[in-house]
């Protein structure tokens, strides 16, 4: 998944304001709003928090509390290629820890890290709902089953090259 750069001419404040205006009519709208902001900006930047608080009549602490509670919301955009390795039990049973070690050995990256050039983010995930066909890895938006080290290399390298 390549993250969307902020559109030229639209500040974070403008994106947040427009998103709130579009979605605030829903009940309990904060999560849909945060998802929409992240979709547009690739993350929920810290400067979005005070704007959200003001528009939604919440305290900054409340908004920050929600943004930081959910693993999905990032303060900075992810790398151009994102890789999520499932580390839950069903994938452990078929060797997902070897994939984590492979990423460490071959790409020099720990889970949760983004490469300094912004090319690659590697993360862990607990279950992608593909428990009979593990180990499962998500590259960008795409799910891959029965992944071994060689296949993981091929998936990452081709995603980074494209």
């Amino acid at each position: 998944m390549t993250t969307t750069e902020p559109q030229p001419g639209r500040t974070v404040t403008e994106v947040v304001t427009d998103t709130v205006a579009a979605l605030e009519g829903q009940r309990g709208a904060l999560l849909p709003i945060l998802h929409a902001i992240q979709e547009t900006l690739g993350c929920v930047p810290r400067e979005a928090v005070p704007v959200l608080a003001e528009r939604l009549n919440l305290s900054r602490a409340d908004v920050h509390g929600v943004v930081s509670f959910y693993h999905d919301f990032r303060a900075e955009p992810a790398g151009r290629t994102t890789v999520k390795i499932c580390r839950a039990e069903a994938c452990q049973a078929v060797g997902s820890s070897r994939l984590v070690e492979h990423v460490r050995d071959r790409y020099g990256m720990e889970l949760g890290e983004t490469r300094s050039d912004g090319a690659l983010t590697v993360d862990q995930v607990f279950c992608l709902g593909n428990c009979a066909l593990g180990p499962t890895v998500q590259v960008g938006a795409r799910l891959h089953g029965r992944v071994d080290a060689a296949k993981l290399t091929q998936l990452i390298d081709s995603a980074m090259a494209s």
Partner: protein, 535 residues
Amino acid sequence: MSPVTPSVTVYVPGDSAARSVGADDVAEAVLRAGARVGQPVHLVRNGTRGMLWLEPLVEVVTPEGRIGYGPVEAADVDGLVDAGLFSGGEHPKRVGVIDDLPWMTSQDRLTFARVGVVDPLSPEDFLTHGGLRGLRRALDMSPDEVVEEMTASGLRGRGGAGFPAGIKWKTVLGCDEALKFVCCNADEGDSGTFADRMVMEGDPFLLIEGMTIAAHAVGATEGFVYIRSEYPAAVATMRAAIEIATWHGWLGDGVLGTSLNFSLQVRVGGGAYICGEETSMLESLEGKRGEVRAKPPIPAIHGLFGQPTLVNNVLTLTSVPAILADGAAAFQALGVERSRGTQVFQLGGNIRRGGVVEKAFGVTLGELVEHYGGGTRTGRPVRAVQVGGPLGAYVPPSDFGLRMDYEEFAASGAMVGHGGVVVFDDTVDMAAQARFAMEFCAAESCGKCTPCRIGSTRGVEVIDRIVAGENPDENLALLEDLCEVMTEGSLCAMGGLTPLPVRSALTHFAGDFLEPRIRPRRPLPLSTAQRTDTT
């Protein structure tokens, strides 16, 4: 006029699991091969039949029935077509008429009756295969009668806790407020479970029908399906199905020409496992941190935005249409003791034939793992099976005679939960699995109560000390004490049940803790993103 070759109908699943092993490429290859040989193809992207080891499973409609081929790779397709795929010809990958396979005929498919059979978003397919029968009958009944039918069916919540559905429905019906909600918990975060996802991707109208029956029964006008963000395909399918159902008058104002008004929308979670706990899910739906609420008050009386709210799991709500269509007695006739009807067992992990087995309660764990599952994928002996998700016990093969029955499992220190079964072979290090249970709890705890938030971190440390051989007796006693505190002192199942896998590992596989199988072990650190939330 030249004769026109009649088109052949070919099914290639569009389910996420099938796509993860190349179903999209296979679908394209089938269309290309059809064009190459001049055979028009009507391609249907169905859900999965649940025979996941055969995915991508290609089915061709023939006069004898739907003949399956699997697992098919894109590179196989030309050869298959040359062998007569389009007329059900012989090939080493031909598995026969799917509906006649013993693996399928021996199941009791109620909830999964249409999954894999129909085009998920075709309203015509849905109606042809019995869709809306349950809703139509329910709408002819009073809410009290529908609730009575639910109670009589003996259906218990399929999300894990097994609470009798009829009692919950009756409580919501008994509340006088004008605004009530029906919320479907589709935050299927437990490893080893994928049936919620499969039914939402494979038969989304079924969930809509179940929720609409529930709305009529309890007097609700608004509903939410809370789906985890890890399931984008289920989100997209449910949203499309809601739009189609609304257009057909199955949802919205005046459902099927009656006075029932019910609107439904999908909400996407934020990657927090704890939101599968019902009160945490309600907090999340309100736009807050997904922190667990203390009960009472129970959500049935004081739920979403303080209003009476029916919260049920996907598989509970998708069981409802069959109960209403064919009557409570038919459902109640299946099962054993106080576990009535069917459960959708999900076989995963290191298993040869992984997938979905919907069977009446009472099937043994051994039948599921050995008979349906065919043992491990690696071919090595089974050493442990985790039943009921990350908070479920590890069961050794010596207990394979256990029947799938809430009470029988509970009596042996395990739980049926939602029917997820994850198999491990004899290379598994059970001390590492116990450590992981604590690590997972530390990463995913909502942080509200201390035994869960702090206890899980201490649990990781204590297990590390035991495995390192530091004062093992003292530390084992400490771990047992910690497990007791977490079990008794946590608000919800996250902290309360994390000791279950830990204790079962200690009970059945104590040797792994004292004579570590793999030493030195390099523990995987929590990722930085996870760690910031748990301090």
